[in-house]
């Protein structure tokens, strides 16, 4: 009996092997077509309704109007001289860290509206992102030079306790001996380590602490998972086809949640879901084609912001054409719903648009910054190239309210379940770029581009 291995030990000439391969590839192509057909059939079966349709059928749903939104402007905290690049709440929901492009970071006590510390960074690089660790002991700063620096945050509590005696200052009329020395407010934080990527792939756009010993940094092409104690990148997730524009994580939402996922959204609508325990993405999807009125084409929109909802597995995607999609990880690539600013229900708010103006030389509106006499049909070149779309999304504690920072319109509060815009958070101003709800859901922090302030909003008992 001839053993089968002996027959195959003679190597075939290349032309024969090429023919065999070509035949195999043909079979694979047939299989693939079959699989794709089965998948589309399955996905069509999943898409049986949308979020707004479901809520329209519910009779008991309380509608939220402007009067029911309990948000009062508590503080407009001044101190930054420049545009605020990044703003993060600490896990205790009382302190806030904000970074501006002047290599200066401010550590605020948001409950009293004052700054507790000023951190001057030694580097001269442009700061893009910052983050504060769950224990509030470490801060991370991501710069334009591909380096993420980790600093130890000064222990302001002990500095304060040494200098101030809270009970005494009200009762006695002593002269101010217990003043904090101004020099202790200005601190250069002690540098713990610098995490540098070897390839020059851009700036560190976001940093997210997973815990005190690991951090996730994103640049435009890669996501790195670092071990802070060893200062090495434990894992790198590469994004070869589309640049990353936004990242969100539910790994530790300031100590409240413990998930394992993070999502990266990029150019051309690509969304990839990763689990930090696995070396490659666990799911990929892309947002549907959208009609771009400026080009008269159906295009894939860029994903400009992403955020997980307080309920696990749900996330919202904001795009550069100002639409918001909702997804559920368990549903996969079928979106739950799509919200538009230009829908008929939101017409009151879509008219306030800084960019919908005609800037042809003969027009009288040339050079005005607030084009309230807007006509959506007169689209300008500026509105396609300068428009960042939805820049930031944040959710209230129950997820019912969605706060978005929209380029050219400002801060909007949406009702997540019906897709209606409830109110504009900042009145007539159009310059909110970051918006963030505190981890315990009691306050919202926004920034103001023109005035460079950090604004705190919270609920008030005597709200009518």
């Amino acid at each position: 009996m001839v053993s089968p291995t002996k027959l195959q030990s003679v190597p075939l000439p290349f032309n024969k092997q090429i023919q065999i391969l070509q035949h195999k590839i043909q079979l694979i192509d047939n299989d693939r077509q079959l699989l794709e057909r089965q998948i589309t059939k399955k996905l069509d079966g999943l898409k049986d309704t949308s979020l707004t349709e479901v809520t329209a059928l519910l009779p008991n749903l309380v509608k939220i109007t402007k009067n029911q939104l309990n948000l009062k402007n508590y503080y407009n905290m001044r101190g930054h001289g420049n545009q605020i690049q990044c703003m993060k709440w600490a896990s205790d929901s009382r302190h806030l860290l904000s970074a501006d492009c002047d290599h200066k970071m401010l550590y605020w006590d948001a409950t009293i509206g004052l700054k507790i510390g000023i951190l001057k960074l030694n580097s001269t690089e442009y700061t893009i992102s910052c983050d504060i660790s769950p224990s509030s002991r470490l801060i991370a700063v991501g710069c334009l030079d591909n380096r993420c620096s980790i600093f130890r945050l000064p222990d302001y509590e002990s500095i304060f306790n040494r200098s101030i005696n809270y009970d005494n200052h009200i009762k006695s009329n002593e002269p101010r001996q217990n003043n904090i020395e101004l020099s202790t407010l200005f601190t250069s934080p002690s540098l713990l380590t610098v995490l540098a990527v070897q390839d020059k792939d851009g700036s560190i756009q976001t940093c997210e602490f997973l815990d005190d010993s690991s951090i996730l940094t994103t640049s435009s092409k890669n996501i790195h998972l670092w071990d802070i104690n060893k200062s090495i990148a434990v894992r790198t997730y590469e994004q070869n086809l589309s640049e990353i524009l936004a990242v969100t994580t539910n790994i530790r939402d300031r100590g409240i949640r413990n998930g394992n996922l993070f999502i990266a959204g990029g150019v051309n609508g690509s969304i990839k879901i990763y689990d930090h325990r696995s070396p490659s993405s666990i799911a990929k999807l892309s947002i549907p084609l959208e009609y771009n009125p400026f080009n008269n084409r159906n295009i894939f929109n860029d994903v400009t912001s992403l955020k997980f909802l307080p309920k696990d597995n749900y996330y919202a995607v904001g795009t550069s054409l100002k639409s918001i999609y909702f997804y559920d990880i368990r549903v996969g690539s079928v979106e739950l719903d799509k919200f538009l600013i230009n829908s008929p229900a939101n017409s009151e708010f879509s008219k306030i648009n800084k960019f919908n103006m005609d800037i042809s030389p003969v027009s009288e509106n040339y050079g005005t910054s607030y084009g309230y006499n807007a006509s959506p049909s007169s689209a300008s070149i500026a509105s396609t190239t300068d428009d960042d779309g939805i820049m930031d999304i944040s959710f209230s504690k129950s997820g019912r309210l969605m706060f978005t920072a929209v380029d050219g319109i400002g801060g909007l509060v949406w009702d997540t379940l019906t897709g209606c815009i409830i109110n504009k958070i900042d009145g007539r101003e159009c310059d909110i770029r970051h918006i963030s709800v505190s981890p315990d859901g009691l306050a919202v922090a926004t920034d103001s581009l023109k005035k460079a302030t950090v604004n705190i909003w919270s609920s008030s008992p005597d709200y009518q």
Binding site: I25, L61, L69, G79, L185, S458, P461
Partner: protein, 109 residues
Amino acid sequence: MDRENKPNLQVNTSATPASSPNPLLQYKLLTIKYQRKNQKNEELKNTLKKELIPVSNSCLGLVDYCQNTTDYMISSWGSLPEEKNPFLQGYNKMRNSNGNNNDVCCTIM
């Protein structure tokens, strides 16, 4: 039309691999193509195997969560008393201190 005038585009298959690189290159390219296509098919099979829930179930879950979680930014949940709202406490403390406190905020020049 004229079959003799057609250029001969076929690869010289009678040559041995060592002397002519074309079949080798073609073989390498085809193996890479085969591997990539195989991988893609595996991914498609995995997506087909995944247990996915329909949109209606997911929406109902979200509605349920939104309606049953207390959220003090919506006035139908009531208002937060002062003891529980640190922002209100801080605001009242600042308002009532009348300048006799050391919580002076410095202005950065």
